[in-house]
Amino acid sequence: MSPSWNRTSHVMVGAATALAVLTACGGSGAQDEKSAAPGSGGKPVSITFWGWAKGSKEVVDAFNASQKNIRVKYEEIPSGNAGGYAKISNAVKAGNAPDLVSIEYPMLPEFVSQGSVQDISGHLTDDVKKKFLPQAVELTTLGGKNWAVPFDAAPQAFYYRKDLFKKYGVEVPGTWDEFREAAEKVKKADKKARIGTFFPDDPSTFQAMAWQAGARWFEAEGDTWKVDTTDPATTKVSAYWQGLLDDGLVHNNASFSPEWTNSLKSGGTIGYLGASWGAGVLTGTLPEQSGKWAVAPMPSWDGKPASGMLGGSTFAVTKDSEKTEAAVEFAQWMTTTEDGVEARIASGTSSAFPAAAELRPAAKAAFDAGYFGGQDIYQVFEDAGASIAPDWAWGPSTGTTNTVMKDQFGKVSDGGATIADAVKAGHEATVSELKKRGLTVEG
C-alpha cells in the first residue's frame, strides 16, 4: 500500500527524470569524499558531520588540512526547519546517525529530551566555556549538563535598503513606534513596497521579538516547567504585528521563499528583520544589490538597545557516537579558533557572529563588508549581542510548539486566525505535550 505502488509499471518513464534530478542535487556529498581520504601518518579517527550553515564545507576542508588525527566527512542536509531536524532524529532512531550534528538553540532542548544527543560536560572545560557569550552557554546547559558547543550568538538586526530609504525620505527607525511610521511612509511612497515581512512559516522570528520585549515563555522551577505566553510583553508584540498586518504595512510571505526573494529583487520589500547571519543570506541571495544595503540595530520598545536571539547554531554529539572526543574537538575547533572562524567567513557566504568574543575581530577581518558599502556591521552585531536579554529559555518541546504556531500563522493572512490565536494554540499544544510526556507543567 505504498503511495506509489500503482506507478511501478511506469518506473522506466520516470526514472530518467528522477535520475537527472538526483544527480543535480547530489553534488555536495560526493566532493567531500576526496578530502576525507585517510591521512598519511598514524590512524586518523574518522567522524561524520551533518550541517547546513553557510561555509561549513570550507570549515571542514580547513580542519582536515590543518591536522592528521581527525578526518571529518561533511554531509550537507536541509536546514533544520526545512527537514534537517527530521532527518537527524530519524537517523538517531534508526541507529545510523552521524557523530556530530548542527542544532539551533531553540531545538536543542527537544533533542536532549528525546535522548538523541550526548552529555558532553566531561569534554568541555571551564576555560572553553568562559570564551563564549554567557547566554549561549546557558542555552546549551540543560539540567546542569552541557549538551552542545555553541557556535554563533545570533543577535537580531534590521537590514534595510539605504538607497530606497533615502529616496522615500524614511529615517531608520530606532523604536517600534518609529518602525510603524516608517512602514507607513514606505507604503505611501510606493504602494507596492513594504518595509519588511511577517514570516508565517517561522515562529522563531516572532519568538525572538517576544524575547526582545522581555518575555520568558519557559522557566524551569525545580522539576516543574512554567509556560507563560500571556505576559504583557508577548501580548504587546502580538498586537503590534497584528496591527501591521491588518493595515497592510508588511508583507506576509514565507521566509526565504521564492516569493520573498522575488519581492526583495524587485524592490517590493526594502527591509528585513533578521539576525547577524542574515547579512550572509542577503549577500548570497541578492548579489546584484551590493552596496545598497545597510544594517541597523533592531528597533526596540523604549529606544534602548535590546535584542533576542534568532536561531544560532550549536554542535551536538549524537547519542550512539563512540567518537565523542574527536567530535567535540572538531566542534571546538570550529567555534573557538581563529582558523575555524576565518575559514567559514572567508567562504563569502557567512556573516556568523561568533559566540566566542575573542574571535570577533577575526570574523570581522574575514568578512567582506563591500556589500554593505564598507559599513562596520560587526560593530552593530557586537552592540546587539551585548543587549541580548538574559534568562530566556527554550522549552523541551519546541518541535510541537513551533509546528502548531506555524500552522496557525499560516491562517493569519486571510483572517482565519490572529497572531494571538496562534500564540495561544502553541501554548496549549505545548502544555498538553509536556503532560503527555509525564512532565510537571504549570501554565
Binding site: P109, K411, G416
Partner: protein, 298 residues
Amino acid sequence: MKARTRTHAAAGVLLTPFFVLFTLVMVVPVGYAVWLSLFTEKQSGLGFGGTRTVFSGLANYTAALGDPAFREGFVVLLGYCVLYIPLMIGGALALALLLDSTLARARRFFQLALFLPHAVPGIIAALIWVYLYTPQLSPVVDAMEAGGVGFDFFAPEGALPSVINIALWEWLGYNMVIFYAALQAVDRSVLEAATVDGAGAWRTAFSIKVPLIRASVVMVALFTVIGSLQLFTEPLIINKGTGSSVTSTWTPNMYAYTAAFDRGDYGLAAAASVLLALTAALLSFAVTRFTGRKGKKA
C-alpha cells in the same frame, strides 16, 4: 498422486518469493507500526534525563482520535474524495471516449501529450504548481488578476481546489490510458452492429462502450480511492513552501508525518497510520462489494 505432489511443490517454489517479499515489506512493517503504536515515551524531572518507553495500551489511539487536527484531516479527505473522484473518473473516461471515437485525429500525439504529466515525479509537479499558484511570482495569477478574476490558491477555500488540480494534472492521463486500452479491446464487430442498428456516436459510447469496460472503471475507482486516502506529497510541498492554510496536519498522512518527524512522537504517528490504514481497508472493501453487487444486477 505423484503429479499432484509435483504441482504442490511447483506452487510452493513459485509462491515463495511472493510470500517472502510480502512478509518483509508488508507484514513486518505493519506489525512494527502496530507494536510502536502501543507505546509512549515518558520522561521525568524537566525531561532532560532521557526517555523510557512505557506500554500505554490504546492511549495513542485515543490521543489521535481526540485531536481535532486529526479529525479535521479526515474532513479534508472527504471533501477531496467527493470532488476529486468524479472529476477524475469522468474526465479520464470522457478523454478516452473522445480518443476512441471516430472523430479523433492524431491519436498517438494526444495519448502521449495527455500521459506526459504522469511521467513527472509528484514532488516536481507539486513544486511547479506551487510556483504557478504563488502571487507576484506566477504569470498565471498575474494574468488572472489583470483580468479581474483574482483567486488565492492558498486560502482555506482555495487550498482544496489547488491540490485537486495538481492531482488531476498528474493522474488524468494515466487513467485515460487505462480506459483507452480497455476501449481498444472492445470487439469492433459489436460496435459495427450497434452502428447498423442505428446507434449514433453518443449512444454507442454510453450504452455499449462504457458498460463493456466497466471492469476497468471499477479498478480505476478503487485505485483512486486508495490513492486519495494517502494524499500527502502535494499538500506537504504547499505546506513547506508557503505560509498557507494548508497546515502540517492537513491530511491524516501529514498528521502522522508531523507527529513522527516534527514532534518526535512515534507512538502517536504509528497509531494515526494504523487508523488510516484501517479506513483504507474498509473503504476498499466497500468499493469492491458495492461495485460487485451492482455488476450482478446489470
